[in-house]
Amino acid sequence: MDAIVADNLSKSFGPVTAVDDVSITIPEGGIFGFLGPNGAGKTTTIRMITGVLIPDAGSVRVLGTDVDKDPLAAKLKMGVIPENGTVYSDLTAEQNILITAKFFGMDRASRERRAGEILDRLGLTERRNDIVRTFSKGMRQRISIACAIVHSPKVLILDEPTTGLDVYSRRLVIDTVRHMNEQGSTVLLTTHNIEEANALCTTISIINKGKIVATGSPEKLKKAFDTSRYVEVSFDQPVGHGLFSGPGITRAEQWGDKWRVYTDDPDRAVKHLASVAERDRLTIVSIATSNPTLEEAFVRLTGGV
């Protein structure tokens, strides 16, 4: 069974179409990334999937349960971290987790055991009885994650979970997402951090201007833009642009004291550069090939520079 099936979701706010006929199917077990620039429609889509926003058109099923027709049953299967969604600052860290667990019908012993486990995993055991108001942003986000995973949800949905976090909190969040996935949770996360999506996700959808523009594994998306591979080379003395005209080389750009030579065949380009260096009595100071990046795919798909 698919973890999340969203069919033809659309949402407009006045004259602005935020999400335009978006359909996604997320199979059980993976980590699905929803990538897009600010204002692309990521959060609006997530809010419709989690039942926080009522779509103008379309439907969402979570593990077979329609979110609109049976929201209680659908939400019992989810753990959600909303964008900027924080926890109750007047309650302690532990109280926040325990009261969230009550919504999921966990008995007292399970609630307390699980809260202890999660606080330990997220490095907050010593602060469990402190009021959240006194916490840093990173610590609040960790409590937010704790609340989302307290019931070991089958589907974990995180909207920009690492935005604005310090390195330590970010790493804890990523480790926890991976751990939950290993424990059997399907993860849907939105991010505009390309490296994070590349490192975490098994499948990525890129959304732009309310529409899905590409879906695939990070490697598949990179391969779709294989022509953007390049060789970076530097010589012991300045060289001219004309040096880089050769077979398979599409263009060359100067980057500081280096040249970036774009090619669809790095092997041929390297051999060509070696031969012209020998011919012109140049010494190669450094040379490296670069794989296509997800960033390149993202920029091209979203119409960036």
């Binding site: 609006t44 926003l53 209680l72 939400k75 309650l91 009261i99 969230t100 019908g105």
Partner: protein, 248 residues
């Protein structure tokens, strides 16, 4: 719908509200201090029959306490950004509305029952019908907690806006509700105006419970309050659903 999950969601929303909002400044000021100050303003130094006017004071106390929690909750949660998390939990709109209403009603019943018990002992108040008094307390608290929840429904993340709106609605209701002038002494347009306030029917019920005399039959007072509860809750649901469509 799974009723067990639904009832549980109401209970947890209520518990959450009681833990967080009972001690917030606006609740203490508008729910406790305000009715006491109004009572002293209108009754101290005047030669009024306390037994005759106590039902009015009790109604005012219940009105303010029960309607003071609800207006605060949703705007506060929207400002603190906890509302979206709440909606994404296993709750539906009705769970949130009824949970907010329950928190206000329990606050109203609790405080008003204590005030009544202390006053009954100190002032040796009559008590004609204890069962009717209990029903009045419950119905009145739910009615005005529902009003509080309705007042919280417009889209805003600024609690002070809602507290202002709340005062704008509540204060006129106080003055047209037969608290300061017994219903039996009203006629014409004054009587019509008074009939429009739900507080009138609660005060009348308190008269029936404490003094054994009332203008309307108790069943009519109770029926009006039940209808008012239904109207308030339905209006709150319509407005809050519209907010969900608009994006909160």
């Amino acid at each position: 719908m799974d009723w067990k999950v639904f009832l549980r969601s109401i209970a947890v929303v209520t518990e959450k509200n009681m833990r967080i909002y009972y001690f917030k400044g606006p609740v203490v000021v508008f729910g406790l201090l305000f009715p006491l100050i109004m009572f002293f303003t209108f009754f101290i130094g005047r030669n009024l029959d306390i037994v005759l006017f106590f039902p009015g004071f009790l109604g005012m106390m219940l009105f303010f306490t029960a309607s003071s929690v609800g207006p605060l909750i949703t705007p506060w949660e929207k400002r603190e950004k906890t509302y979206e998390r709440l909606v994404s939990l296993p709750v539906i709109l009705e769970s949130i509305i009824i949970g907010d209403l329950m928190a206000g009603a329990i606050f109203g019943v609790g405080i008003t029952a204590i005030v009544f018990a202390v006053s009954a002992v100190l002032l040796r108040l009559p008590l004609a019908h204890i069962g009717l008094l209990a029903l009045s307390l419950v119905l009145g608290s739910i009615t005005f907690a529902a009003l509080g929840t309705l007042l919280a429904s417009p889209t805003t993340d600024n609690p002070s806006n809602i507290m202002m709106l709340s005062s704008l609605v509540r204060l006129p209701l106080i003055f047209v509700s037969g608290i300061f002038i017994p219903l039996s002494q009203l006629a014409g347009w004054e009587w019509i105006l008074t009939s429009l306030s739900p507080l009138t029917y609660l005060v009348d019920l308190f008269h029936a419970s404490l003094n054994g005399d009332a203008v309307y039959p108790p069943w009519l007072d109770a029926l009006v309050l039940v209808l008012v509860i239904l109207v308030f809750v339905l209006c709150a649901k319509v407005i809050q659903r519209r907010n969900l469509v608009k994006g909160i």
